[in-house]
């Protein structure tokens, strides 16, 4: 607010006086008012000291916070709505608004803030080395920057568990290790004596899947082989859909297969007919699998459909890597044409395109939207890729060998890089979501809590049939057309309830059932419904015309004047 001017003072006093004058009659109102209304009014209350409340009413909530928790638009009120429905809608709207407000208020109380990295003036943040950052931060955070020198069995694929506590490393030459990486405790380490294509945690840190040379294997956290799944062969890439308990695998033979890990059944096997599948990612919002192909297309798949839901031509030359952000809005792809492209997958339109001199072999997005791209042995991290055109990386780091697998650790400012010479854990300030939800993924959960969570999660396992492009479809009104509903009914009943019986003319003797007379009789009943409709409409029209004529006559008589144009009237 601008400072008050001398000429405004008088006016303000007047206003205040007016305000007081206005309040006086308000106080005279009967005291039977509800508490709620009084709260809403707010400012009327005064303290014993006589001073007015400096912050009347409930604390305001910033609009952007409210928008964060907005689930849907308010329903437009129709004029002719049933009063019960109207009431129901208004009530539900009220409760949802209250929930939104409460969530927004609660958001202010969240304990942790996100990390950040700011350079001095004239200093690029990308020039700051990992050692400097590790020195600058506290010891526990500094210890999160480390290198594992594993030159024998590399290059390594990396996977963090959903809570971010556990790290799974899979070396190309058969070395598989799982580590509680924060305490640096080794949980198990095995050599499967076969080439390893990919590793993935299943829903908890007690089980993981390893795609080996021929088959898919499941191990537990002690390194004991639980299953060898022979239905899944030559798997190159895997994705785990945590809410569906599905392990999606892409194989060298071009098959996309889904394994339900809770019951151990193959849910779907889709032959994509697009050759070797080694680029894969999932959309965390709707559990759609994105596959990148050597002809530059990216295809979207659900287990319910044999064909791709969407095919997008993204690059000239093959697609090297695909990733989708947490909110399911943006897709980032990199290709052999050395480009990095940003797509909006609500509209399937490109937003931005960047040229990277060496091209990115691996992409990974963090929870807060930082993008890491590996070009050879350099890992670059970008910020705000989709909103503004980026010229410089946010951070950069050179690892010892060619980067093979990248993943941001959930709920931590850490990027795990698996490369030819082992594993590097990088510090990337501002990458992780600072406040986790204890009922969803709790990094500090105890064994009991994990078991409890597992039971709950299994109980609300989403069936694979519900995987669609729009995950909120289930909550919307299904406006099936009449024909569609009719078709459903026909299939359910096994016959058509609305079908009319075909008219079969009765046989008559004495030559009255000749072909000609049969046709004549048939004609009598043909299009009976249509005839009825026509008859009715004609009658209605006549009626209206008659009424109008009478009305005209009346008005003509009453006015008594004849217009020159009346002769054109019918």
């Amino acid at each position: 607010m601008p400072p008050v001017r001398y000429w405004q003072e008088n006016g303000k006093d007047e206003n205040q006086a007016g305000g007081d004058g206005g309040k006086a009659p308000q106080q005279k109102e009967p005291k039977t008012k509800k508490r709620k209304q009084e709260e809403a009014k707010g400012g009327g209350k005064k303290f014993i000291s006589g001073k007015p409340d400096p912050f009347p009413g409930p604390a305001p909530i910033p609009q952007d916070r409210l928008d964060k928790f907005k689930r849907k638009e308010t329903i437009k009120k129709r004029r002719k709505q049933h009063y019960k429905l109207k009431d129901m809608i208004s009530r539900s709207e009220e409760t949802s608004q209250m929930a939104q407000k409460q969530a927004a208020r609660f958001d202010i109380l969240l304990p942790e803030d996100a990390g950040f990295l700011e350079g001095e003036e004239e200093e690029d943040t990308c020039t700051i080395s990992q050692e400097d950052i590790a020195d600058a931060v506290d010891i526990t955070s500094g210890a999160k920057y480390f290198n594992l020198k594993l030159s024998q069995f590399g290059p390594y694929r990396v996977d963090y568990s959903k809570t971010g506590r556990h790290l799974l490393l899979g070396g190309r030459r058969g070395h598989v290790a799982c580590v509680d990486w924060q305490s640096k405790q080794l949980m198990c380490e095995i050599n499967v004596m076969e080439s390893v294509n990919d590793v993935k945690w299943l829903h908890t840190e007690t089980m993981y899947a390893v795609a080996q040379k021929k088959w898919l294997y499941i191990y537990d956290s002690n390194g004991i082989e639980l299953h060898c799944i022979r239905k899944f062969n030559d798997v190159l890439r895997m994705q785990f859909l945590p809410y569906h308990f599905l392990l999606a695998t892409a194989s060298a033979t071009g098959f996309l297969q889904y394994l339900d890990v809770s019951v151990g059944k193959e849910v779907a096997a889709i032959c994509t007919k697009t050759g070797r599948l080694d680029v894969m990612c999932q959309n965390p919002r709707n559990a759609i699998i994105h596959l990148g192909h050597s002809n530059g297309t990216v295809t979207l798949w659900s287990p319910n459909q044999r064909e791709a839901l969407v095919k997008m031509l993204c690059h000239r030359g093959g697609v090297r890597s695909v990733t989708v952000d947490k909110s399911g809005t943006y897709m980032l792809t990199s290709g052999m044409d050395k480009k990095l492209k940003v797509y909006d997958i609500r509209t399937f339109k490109p937003l931005n395109s960047y040229f990277l001199p060496a091209g990115a072999s691996c992409l990974s997005l963090s929870q807060r939207g930082l993008l890491s791209a590996a070009t050879g042995d350099i890992v670059q991290v970008y910020r705000d890729v989709w909103s503004t055109p980026v010229t410089k990386p946010y951070m950069a780091h050179r690892v010892r060998g060619t980067a093979w697998g990248l993943q941001f650790c959930p709920f931590e400012d850490v990027l795990g890089v698996g490369h030819g010479d082992g594993f590097t854990s990088m510090l990337v300030p501002g990458a992780g979501e600072p406040n986790f939800d204890g009922l969803d993924a709790n990094p500090y959960r105890s064994v009991k809590q994990r078991q409890e969570w597992e039971v709950k999660a299994l109980l609300e396992k989403i069936q694979p049939e519900l995987i669609t492009l729009n995950p909120n479809e289930l909550g919307q009104v299904d406006n099936a057309t009449f024909t569609q509903r009719h078709q459903d009914r026909v299939t359910a009943l096994g016959f058509d309830p609305l079908a009319k019986e075909k008219f079969v003319p009765r046989f008559k003797k004495k030559g009255r059932s000749s072909t000609g007379s049969i046709e004549k009789r048939k004609k009598k009943v043909a299009h009976e419904d249509l005839r009825d409709v026509i008859r009715e409409t004609v009658e209605d029209k006549m009626k209206v015309a008659k009424e109008r004529k009478e009305k005209d006559l009346k008005t003509g008589v009453s006015s008594g004047t004849k217009s020159a144009l009346d002769r054109f009237k019918k």
Binding site: F106, Y243, D437, I462, Q463, L474
Partner: protein, 445 residues
């Protein structure tokens, strides 16, 4: 260089000692909780399935009567007391918490036709086939004392029903006419007749206490005002009504149990057509009783089932049956709205839960919250076909299942015929009669 890296103190996120409960920090950010709708749907589906799993309404069978149970009465003051009268004139008083008979008395010779507890709860009245009305003390006689009624009224004709005024010392009986009695006198204060008929039941209005309604054998329901000398009005239906019950909350509505397998809810002020026709029974409906909330009522039928209807729904939401239960003659909804009691032909009284899947006893706060949450979810997703199918499924005995099917076919055939008649007659000569209008013959004043 300014840098901050996420660094959480584990002490803020784990419990201090083993005696504490675990800390669960929450973050309601929608992006951290994907598939909200789908997960809620799964929960709703599970809740619906569990409801069907836990739907075990039958609680207990009270046996002891040596003949079919003909009438029951709720105690007006005590939740755990139930009175029942049998076809051999025996009256039993039951303790429902212990599920045992606490008192037996031979009240009449022949049927006990009607029974009602006085509003004060200290005595009760029985009416029997031996043309008497007897008043009994609620307390059992002391040791060595004879079981004797306080008061006996000798009537001229057989009584078929009995009800007591809500506040005054006034009784109403029905038989060949509807009589209003003073408790102290041996002759009725007032008698109502309207045409030659006999009455099967009479009920006082619980709110407008001077009003009465009765079901007559000439297919009519008659309304009376006790203060007037003549009846108010009557509605004649196509079939006879057996009993009726007033809605205790909206006391201008009453529901009658009809011989034509249906129940009809009427608005007292507008008898031209019923407010709702409740169908589902496949045999004559013998008794009906409202829940004290006035939202549901229970009906007993000759088809060996009892059904629970929402007051404004055309079809039942619940059906109870067991293999051993025969024709159900009387039914009562307990005053705490939690239980339903049914008395049937084969000498037993059965205790049912009013809400089949409800857990009995105290609920822990978290349990209560979980129940409320799943209830809301079920409500939210009730129209999804899968959930709807599971929630609506009820197992029926084979004969009832087939009977229902047969009735439906018959109804459809009748409808088709009517449609054809309408089609081939002069337009307007065969009007469309709605299901509600169909069953009312006339209203007389």
């Amino acid at each position: 260089m300014k840098v901050k890296v996420l660094s959480r103190n584990p002490d803020d996120y784990v419990r201090e000692t083993k005696l504490d409960i675990q800390r669960v920090p929450r973050n309601y950010d929608p992006t951290l909780h994907p598939f909200e709708v789908n997960r809620e749907y799964c929960r709703a589906l599970n809740a619906t399935k569990l409801e069907r799993v836990f739907a075990k309404p039958f609680l207990a069978s009270l046996d002891g009567h040596r003949d079919g149970v003909n009438c029951m009465a709720k105690h007006t003051r005590s939740l755990s007391t139930l009175l029942s009268g049998a076809c051999d004139g025996e009256v039993r008083v039951w303790d429902l918490t212990k599920r045992e008979c606490v008192r037996t008395l031979q009240a009449h010779e022949g049927f006990v036709r009607g029974m009602v507890v006085r509003f004060c709860g200290t005595s009760f009245f029985t009416a029997g086939d031996d043309k008497t009305i007897k008043q009994w003390k609620m307390e059992a006689p002391g040791y060595g004392e004879e079981e004797e009624p306080i008061n006996t009224i000798l009537g001229k004709t057989v009584f078929t029903g009995l009800d007591h005024h809500q506040k005054d010392n006034v009784l109403a009986t029905c038989g060949q006419q509807v009589d209003i009695w003073d408790e102290q006198r041996s002759s009725p204060i007032r008698s109502f007749t309207w045409g030659v008929d006999s009455f099967s039941s009479v009920r006082f209005n619980p709110v407008e206490t001077e009003l009465l309604a009765s079901c007559a054998s000439d297919r009519s329901i008659v309304l009376y005002d006790m203060r007037e000398s003549a009846p108010l009005k009557k509605v004649i239906m196509t079939m006879r009504s057996n009993t009726l019950c007033w809605n205790p909350m909206e006391a201008y509505y009453f529901t009658c149990a009809n011989e034509d397998y249906n129940l009809y809810t009427y608005d007292m002020r507008y008898l031209r057509q019923p407010v709702t026709v409740h169908m589902d029974h496949v045999s004559a409906v013998l008794d009906v009783d409202y829940s004290p909330t006035g939202k549901d009522f229970v009906s007993a039928s000759f088809d060996k089932t009892i059904r629970i209807f929402p007051k404004d729904a055309g079809h039942s939401k619940e059906v109870y049956h067991t293999k051993r239960m025969q024709h159900v003659i009387c039914v009562k909804w307990s005053s705490d709205s939690k239980y339903v009691l049914s008395g049937s032909d084969e000498m037993n009284i059965r205790l049912w839960k009013a809400n089949a899947a409800e857990k009995l006893g105290m609920l822990a706060p978290r349990e209560r919250a979980a129940v409320n949450y799943s209830q809301k979810l079920k409500e939210k997703f009730q129209h999804h076909p899968q959930i709807r199918r599971i929630a609506h499924h009820r197992h029926l005995p084979k004969n009832i299942y087939h009977e229902t099917k047969e009735l439906r076919t018959m109804k459809e055939a009748r409808r088709r015929k009517e449609r054809n008649v309408r089609k081939h007659s002069k337009p307007g000569s065969v009007p469309v009669v709605s299901e509600k209008e169909k069953h009312v013959v006339t209203v007389l004043k």
